[in-house]
Symmetry: C2
Subunit: 129 residues, 2 copies
DNA sequence: CATAAACCTTCTAGTAACTGTAAGGTCAAG
DNA sequence: CTTGACCTTACAGTTACTAGAAGGTTTATG
C-alpha cells in the first residue's frame, strides 16, 4: 500500500508517516521504484500510534507502548505504569491551566474593554495592585 | 544592574533574559566592558513578561501586551481582546485534556496492572474492542 | 505516443520558547 | 597573580512535526 492510502487509513499525514519512519517507529519496505510499501501490519502500528498520540502520549511513550503492543509476553503493569504517568502529567497540566483560567477570567471580567487606557489586566501584569 | 540581579528580581533565568533581548523584547544598555546594564524600566518590563508568561500568554502575545503596557494612550479593549483570545485557547486545551483524562482514567482503572499480557489500554490503542 | 496531472522521493529549514554546553573575556578577593 | 565568580557569544538540541523546493515515476488524457 502506498503512503497516501496508509495516511488515509490511519488519520495521519504523509509527512507524519515519513517522520515516524525517520525516527524508526514504523519502517515499511520499499518497492523497486523506491516507493514505500506499507503492509497491513505497518498500518496497524500506524493506527496504534495515531490513537496513542490522540490520547496525548509523547512520541517516546508511543515507542514504548508500540514495543509492548508487539510483545506477546508483555506485563500489563508495564503498560499501566506508562499510562498512569501520562495521566498524572495531564492532571498537572489541567491544574496549571485552570489556575491561569481563573486568574484571567477574573481580570477579563473586570476589564471594561473600552477606549480608555486603565486596565486591570495590564495592572496585574505590571504588578500594580 | 547586571543580568544575575535582573534574573533574581524577575524570576526569569539569565538565559531567558538573553533570549528576550535576542528577539527584541527588552534590550538593555551595555557597559563599556560589554556587560548588560538593566535599568529599573527594563526590570519592570521583564517582570511584566514574567507574569504574562506565567499566565500562559505566548511570547508573541507578550510582545503586544508589552507594547500596550508602554502605551499611555492604549485602549483597554485591545488588551481585553488579547486576553479573551488566550482565555479561549485555555478553555480549548482544558477540554482536550479533560477528554484524554476521561478516556485514560477509564482504561487505567480497567487494567489489572499485573504480569499478564492482556491489557485494555493496549487493546484500545490497537482499536480492538 | 507525448505530455500533463498526480503521485512519489529526499533534503533543508522553520516552528515555540527556551536550555545546554563550549570557549573565552572581566573583575574582585586573597 | 591567580583563583573563582561572573559575564560574553555562538552553536546545537529539545518536541513533533510542517512547509517548501527540486526532482523522479506513474497514470490518465488528447
Amino acid at each position: 500500500m502506498k503512503i497516501r492510502d496508509a495516511a488515509e487509513k490511519t488519520d495521519l499525514t504523509e509527512k507524519t508517516i515519513r517522520y515516524y519512519e525517520d525516527i524508526g517507529l514504523v519502517v515499511p519496505c520499499r518497492r523497486s521504484n523506491g516507493y514505500r510499501d506499507f503492509s497491513e501490519q505497518d498500518v496497524h502500528k500506524l493506527n496504534f500510534l495515531s490513537r496513542a498520540r490522540k490520547l496525548g502520549f509523547s512520541v517516546d511513550d508511543c515507542r514504548q507502548l508500540l514495543s509492548l503492543y508487539s510483545d506477546r509476553k508483555r506485563a500489563s503493569k508495564d503498560v499501566k505504569r506508562i499510562a498512569e504517568a501520562h495521566l498524572h502529567e495531564i492532571e498537572v497540566k489541567i491544574n496549571e491551566l485552570s489556575k491561569m483560567q481563573e486568574t484571567l477570567q477574573f481580570l477579563v471580567t473586570n476589564c471594561k474593554g473600552n477606549d480608555r487606557p486603565d486596565c486591570p489586566i495590564i495592572n496585574d501584569l505590571a504588578g500594580k495592585l
